[in-house]
């Protein structure tokens, strides 16, 4: 069985990590991301190509998550760090907002 996924990218202008939030568009926080079930990720990724073309985002890709009470949690530590910021600088990144 495939794991749920979240679509992520970086904003072209500032490089900030963003997530696909469905109707909300590209959102800043992982908890606002749309959880993509049952292969919906591929369609969302294909849709992201248009946002790349428009110069909103770069480097979109999907990553696996576990869902607890509707909130996605990354499987890999890489995405935990992208979602928060450097673990050695808690004053920087999204964790500092």
């Amino acid at each position: 069985m495939r794991m749920p996924q979240v679509l992520t990218a970086n904003r072209l202008v500032v490089g900030e990590v963003v997530y696909w939030g469905g109707p909300a568009g590209w959102v800043q926080r992982l908890e606002q991301a749309e959880v993509l079930m049952n292969g919906a990720g591929e369609a969302a990724l294909a849709n992201a190509a248009e946002w790349v073309r428009k110069g909103e985002i770069v480097a979109p890709y999907l990553f696996d998550v576990r869902v607890n009470n509707g909130v996605p949690a990354p499987v890999k530590v890489r995405e935990v760090i992208r979602a928060a910021g450097p673990t050695v600088r808690r004053d920087l990144g999204k964790q500092a907002d």
């Binding site: 970086n10 072209l12 202008v13 500032v14 770069v58 499987v75 050695v88 920087l92």
Partner: protein
């Protein structure tokens, strides 16, 4: 130090303006990311985990106080108030924003700096011995050749699209402080039997997923021939290096596949062809002209030992500890070389805040230091300190939280940015370095262990030089969880060797205990005065394995 001529100054300014146009076209949608990416990389701009990262070239690791202040200003104004000094003597700013990068490049151009050739498949920033011009064992200032190579390689049309990146390092003595054995080309300045100074050239060194120690391709290249010889090496590589597989495209793979004898043959044939034209013969006058930029400062006539310095060492144990590890012999009586550790316990190896950079620039002015050096071990060096000023220097450094007395010791750890910042990383490096440094923070314990070089990389690309650590640590991804392998027996110095993996890896918490376990074995089996590396070479991996993996 070298000063830009009119051509250099125009080049970097025009390059910044050219990039401004490219950024504007990208933001206007006239360039796609595929079109823009190689352009931004040519200007040292990467997209990393959280943001863009700008890699600033510091040729042969030399900075003036004015340049250091400018770096502090740029980091504070355009980034997050700090920078990270790397194993290639560069500075990385990890929070750049695309529209502001052209302004950052123009700010750099104001102080004769740039980001060219810090990325891409070209000859990268030339690195050199950080004790240049100061070391007692030096034959000639390695920055003279390094600067000539910088000029030769900058935007060299034939070598701007190589199969892969190409790194050159220059060492000026038998003691290798520039890690030349792990560079694509390593150059050792040496003297032949006739007393003539020339260059011993190594090729095919490198780390990454397929590490190799460089091999000698030219035992003694006369000064006048060095450009022709290096151009010959580059041509052989450019023509025969693989372009079909990124993992097999470095010159080390070519040397490995054809063998060093065949490499020598091809280089010699190409060298003979280039020599016929005579165009690359390096005029002695030009070398002398470049040499004037690196003329030593006017040294005072001082006694070999400074009474004030000796007395302060006796009076202050902490200062004496700092001197023991961070102060090195200078070629001039009464002078010393001071290493500033960027490995304060608990801090990120290689990081320096804008305030610290400004503080260091003030220190440079206070002690008449025209230059500060960046080392490949992620520390800084003041090369020409009067011995009598060392105590005051140490006090000022301590006030900047830069007075750690640990150079060359177990807590002087090289660590790449790792998964905290880097898009390529599989595991974090910095927290591991911090945890090990904290575990061994007791200075008496560190001194008892003596020289011990720990190097940590967060992925197989080996920016943290883990293959050549006395103890190397490689972070890998094991089913989404960070895991750390231990390698023992590496060295990036004149006794270069590649470390060997000891056995199964450890998790984030287990790795610190594992390192302590390995060091415990060393303590038990070492002979009097024997370094960790020498003990390992004498006894091999077995005793370390037995204790570490004992059930």
């Amino acid at each position: 130090m070298y000063r830009y001529d009119e051509f250099d100054a125009r080049l970097v300014r025009e390059r910044a303006e050219q990039f401004r146009g490219q950024v504007e076209r990208r933001l206007a949608g006239e360039l796609t990311e595929d079109e823009f990416k190689p352009l931004r990389l040519m200007n040292g701009l990467y997209l990393q985990l959280h943001s863009y990262m700008l890699r600033i070239a510091i040729p042969y690791g030399t900075l003036s106080a004015r340049q250091l202040r400018k770096l502090a200003f740029i980091a504070r104004t355009y980034d997050r108030g700090y920078g990270h000094f790397t194993t290639r003597q560069n500075l990385q700013l990890h929070w750049a924003q695309l529209p502001k990068v052209p302004d950052m490049l123009l700010e750099l151009a104001e102080v004769e700096m740039h980001c060219m050739q810090t990325s891409g498949n070209c000859v990268r920033n030339i690195t050199a011995d950080h004790f240049a011009g100061a070391a007692a064992d030096e034959l000639e200032d390695p920055r003279i050749l390094s600067e000539i190579l910088r000029q030769w390689s900058t935007l060299h049309p034939e070598f701007s699209f190589l199969p892969r990146k190409f790194k050159i390092a220059v060492s000026a003595s038998a003691a290798d402080r520039a890690a030349i054995a792990i560079h694509d080309i390593g150059i050792q300045i040496l003297k032949n039997a006739g007393g003539e100074i020339g260059y011993r050239v190594f090729v095919g060194g490198g780390l990454g997923r397929t590490p190799f120690i460089g091999q000698e391709v030219g035992p003694f290249v006369p000064k006048a021939d060095i450009l022709a010889f290096l151009e010959a090496v580059m041509r052989v590589y450019n023509e025969s290096g693989r372009r079909d597989n990124i993992h097999k495209a470095r010159v080390k793979i070519l040397v490995h596949q054809i063998g060093i004898e065949e490499m020598r043959k091809r280089v010699e044939a190409e060298f003979a062809e280039i020599k016929k034209t005579g165009v690359l013969e390096l005029p002695a006058e030009e070398m002398a002209r470049i040499g004037t930029y690196f003329a030593p400062p006017k040294f005072e006539d001082l006694p070999r030992e400074s009474p004030e310095f000796e007395s302060k060492k006796r009076e202050n144990r902490a200062f004496a500890d700092w001197v023991k590890t961070n102060v090195h012999t200078h070629k001039m009586p009464g002078y010393a070389i001071a290493t500033i550790s960027l490995k304060t316990i608990g801090e990120t190896p290689g990081d320096c805040s804008s305030d610290q950079m400004d503080g260091l620039a003030t220190v440079m002015d206070a002690f008449d230091q025209a230059e500060i050096r960046v080392t490949h071990e992620q520390n800084l060096v003041l090369p020409h300190m009067r011995q009598r000023d060392l105590y005051a220097l140490w006090q000022k450094l301590s006030a900047l939280d830069l007075g750690a007395a640990n150079h060359g010791l177990v807590s002087d750890i090289i660590a790449c940015p790792g998964l905290d910042y880097c898009d390529l990383a599989n595991a974090r490096s910095i927290p591991i370095a911090q945890a090990i440094a904290k575990r061994f923070s007791d200075l008496d314990r560190q001194h008892d262990l003596g020289e011990l070089k720990i190097k940590i990389s967060g992925c197989i690309n080996a920016c943290g030089h883990h293959h050549v650590g006395h103890i190397g640590i490689l972070g890998v991804d094991r089913k989404g969880v960070e895991n750390y392998q231990i390698l023992l027996g590496g060295s990036g110095a004149e006794d270069a060797s590649l470390g060997e993996i000891l056995g199964p890896g450890f998790d984030q918490h287990g790795i610190v205990d594992a390192v302590e376990n390995v060091i415990g074995t060393y303590k038990d089996v070492r002979r009097n005065g024997e370094r960790f590396l020498d003990t390992y070479r004498r006894v091999g991996a077995q005793p370390f394995k037995e204790r570490l993996y004992a059930r």
